[in-house]
């Protein structure tokens, strides 16, 4: 009894992690392609259509191009931190996917496998912890570049993420008061029998959505890389695949935060207007799980599309407008939402 290790469990989790990470990467890869196509449609263009049929090999061409670009590390930069920056950005982008429930259980080789890497009972707080770590990738990279524009971009990103985290957290507290659990799996299970949380918490969802846009540094909140004032923002000095990591991390963040929103507010893998019990009897548990995964991905892709839609529709905020929105509008609204939710719950439970 030196080390008692449950070997099948470790293999199971390892396979699950590899599958989740790989599919996140592929989805993010095609999100870059989708972004270019969406932009093209919105601007009445054709978009990339040369590499492969309909241009579907375009992400591979982009990736190869980034790999073959010259790798430049500025002379005056701190080399270790310069490399650490994009690595951290990528790492924190991937880590959030650990607590997302992608589907129900499947039975393979006589084992019940939950389609979730880790069902920890503080799931949503874990997401918060990783999100608050995400800012380090940008800050360290921007400081290590030893460039004024980079530093400005990094500082903007940091203050923006900290400011919007507050409203995001308070909007979530109202949701937690309703669900009564912090585990993402239990939240989804709770929504499968009842109505989706977005109906109970419309204001909370709106605040959460706006804050997610700000946390991902997406337009209209992409002040950190405002190219007409800061050149490239925090990644001005980066080239080759290190730049690719920063850009790629943004797309992974988009997909993962879409998944979090789906799990929290839109029933996760729940298929609407369908009695799951009957379906399981008809087609079996494993096929039901496959249907659940497709439903989940469909919902998540809708939100990824929303990110792009907003980007090509709404212009960027000014910096003071951004701070005013965060502190003077969203934070009071989130506080009001929390108090109102608490009052309603108190009224109905004490009667």
């Amino acid at each position: 009894m030196l080390l008692s290790i449950d070997l099948p469990l470790i293999i199971e989790k390892l396979v699950l992690i590899i599958v989740v990470v790989m599919s996140s990467l592929v989805i993010a890869m095609y999100a870059t392609f989708a972004e270019r196509k969406v932009a093209a449609v919105m601007q009445d263009r054709i978009g990339p259509n040369r590499a492969g049929p309909f241009g579907i090999l375009q992400p591979l061409a982009d990736g190869l191009k980034l790999f073959f670009k010259e790798e430049i590390i500025p002379n005056f930069s701190s080399k270790f931190l310069f490399i650490l920056g994009p690595s951290l950005a990528m790492l924190t982008a991937m880590m959030t996917s650990a607590v997302i429930p992608w589907g129900d259980t499947v039975t393979l080789f006589g084992r019940e496998i939950h389609l979730q890497i880790a069902d920890i009972n503080i799931g949503i707080l874990y997401v918060f912890g990783v999100v608050s770590m995400g800012v380090y990738g940008i800050m360290i990279g921007s400081w290590a570049s030893n460039n004024k524009f980079s530093l400005m971009g990094g500082l903007r990103a940091a203050s923006q993420i900290i400011s919007y985290e507050l409203a995001m957290g308070i909007a979530l507290i109202a949701l937690l008061m309703i669900t009564g659990t912090l585990s993402l799996r239990l939240m989804v299970v709770g929504q499968m029998d009842g109505v989706w949380n977005v109906i109970k918490q419309p204001l909370g969802f709106l605040i959460f959505l706006i804050c997610v846009f700000a946390e991902c540094n997406r337009t209209p909140f992409d002040l950190a890389e405002a190219e007409n004032e800061l050149i490239g923002g925090y990644h001005t000095e980066y080239s080759s695949m290190k730049l690719g990591f920063y850009l790629f991390a943004e797309y992974i963040n988009m997909f993962v935060s879409s998944s979090v929103m789906v799990s929290l507010f839109f029933g996760g893998y729940d298929i609407p207007f369908l009695n799951d019990g009957h379906m399981v009897e008809k087609i079996g548990q494993n096929w039901m799980a496959v249907a659940h995964i497709f439903m989940f991905l469909f919902k998540a892709f809708f939100f990824v599309f929303l990110f792009m839609w907003v980007r090509w529709t709404i212009p960027r905020f000014r910096y003071d407008q951004l701070m005013n929105l965060g502190w003077k509008v969203l934070l009071p609204l989130a506080l009001f939402n929390m108090l109102a939710t608490g009052a309603v719950i108190l009224y109905f439970t004490t009667k």
Binding site: L125, W143, A158
Partner: protein, 168 residues
Amino acid sequence: MSITQILFWLLSAVAVGGAIMVVASKSPVHSILFLIITFFAISGHYILLNAQFLAIVNIIVYAGAIMVLFLFVVMLMNLNEESAPPQKNKYILYGGTIAGASLMLVLVAALKQSAQGRHLMETNNGTGGLIENLGKLLFTDYVFPFEISSVLFLSAMIGAVVISKKEA
């Protein structure tokens, strides 16, 4: 050794090593990054003690928010090895060493004397750190200190806003 013990020694080594590097490294930015590593190691200890809420709050609040502000200030002031003022006063060094050593002496003596000396760690099976139990305890037995400390935080926040308004 069980897996808990291995993890304990690993995390302890990282925590102590990180803490030493905070003091030893010349660049303030590196110091802050080592401090973040130390916070992560301590959060790992909390998880070993089954205090998940404390662990994640430690990461969100300390490693995620307060350290970002530290980094913010250091980066804005652009403190580097060259610009840091050389520490000339030796008496401060001696004083610090003596003060730190006496603190450690007191801590070790207190822990040796305490009734719980042999029962310091309750790994894996403690339930006191789970969020449900912690919340119930905070809002029943300890509700008064809890409210007092939240008022204290609120006044600190208002104070910060008032001071920053005065400067402008």
